[in-house]
């Protein structure tokens, strides 16, 4: 079946511009996660959505970062007034959700470059 998809695959923007990154989770997955992967580093958790519950935003690095999710489908990560340190690969993952450590399945990521 279809996996997690993300768009765009690459995004180059100028410092100070806003960007939107999109994630389409696996159909039927109620949980959705955003992570950031800086060059040569591991993944940092950004935000977590589970069904209709309030999202866990504890990983968002600043108030320039926000994310929304429409029901149990598409999610958009928005970065306002981008800075060069925002350059990274942004990865989205989804899982069945619910109680317990279920497996997260990752999309291919969006590579963001801020000039």
């Amino acid at each position: 079946g279809a996996g997690v998809s993300q768009s765009p695959s690459n995004k180059v923007t100028e410092k100070g511009k806003d960007v939107e990154l999109r994630c389409d989770p696996i159909s039927g997955h109620t949980a959705l996660y955003w992570y950031r992967q800086r060059l040569g580093q591991g993944l940092e958790f950004l935000i977590y959505f589970q069904g209709n519950s309030a999202p866990d935003k504890s990983g968002l690095p600043s108030d320039r970062f926000s994310a929304e999710r429409t029901g149990e489908s598409v999610s958009t990560l928005t970065i306002q007034r981008t800075q060069q340190e925002d350059s990274a690969v942004y990865l989205c993952a989804s899982s069945l959700g619910g109680i317990g450590p279920d497996t997260q399945y990752f999309g291919p990521g969006t590579r963001l470059t801020v000039l």
Binding site: F45, Y48, L91, P101
Partner: protein, 114 residues
């Protein structure tokens, strides 16, 4: 704070030899441990996970991992390495509480020489 350590930035192994990629975790409740692999310019692919039960977990592509509670380790292993196994490997632990977010190690680059 919960953390995952991958002490080796890179592991080199000859094709056909056994490989081990090391991972240790900090103790905080029950660990739920995962291994993912990342090929160049691609997302992470799930390999295997330990939740409970047998300490030896078998996963995709012939990989396995051994959970060792006394050493707080979850090393990834494969009896015979392939050149195509060359990739970046990440160990992760699920955080506690209501959020299922994963805490990742910094990754280990596996290079298999022909």
């Amino acid at each position: 704070a919960q953390s995952v350590a991958q002490p080796e930035d890179q592991v080199n192994v000859a094709e056909g030899n056994p490989l081990t990629v090391k991972c240790t975790y900090s103790v905080s409740g029950n660990p739920y441990l995962f291994w993912y692999v990342q090929y160049p310019n691609r997302g992470l692919q799930f390999l295997l996970k330990y939740i409970t039960g047998d300490n030896l977990v078998k996963g995709s592509y012939g990989f396995e991992a051994e959970f060792n509670k006394s050493q707080t380790s979850f090393h990834l292993k494969k009896p015979s390495a392939l050149v195509s196994d060359s990739a970046l490997y990440f160990c992760a632990d699920r955080s506690g509480g209501a959020t299922n977010k994963l805490i990742f190690g910094t990754g280990t680059l596996l290079a298999v020489q022909p």
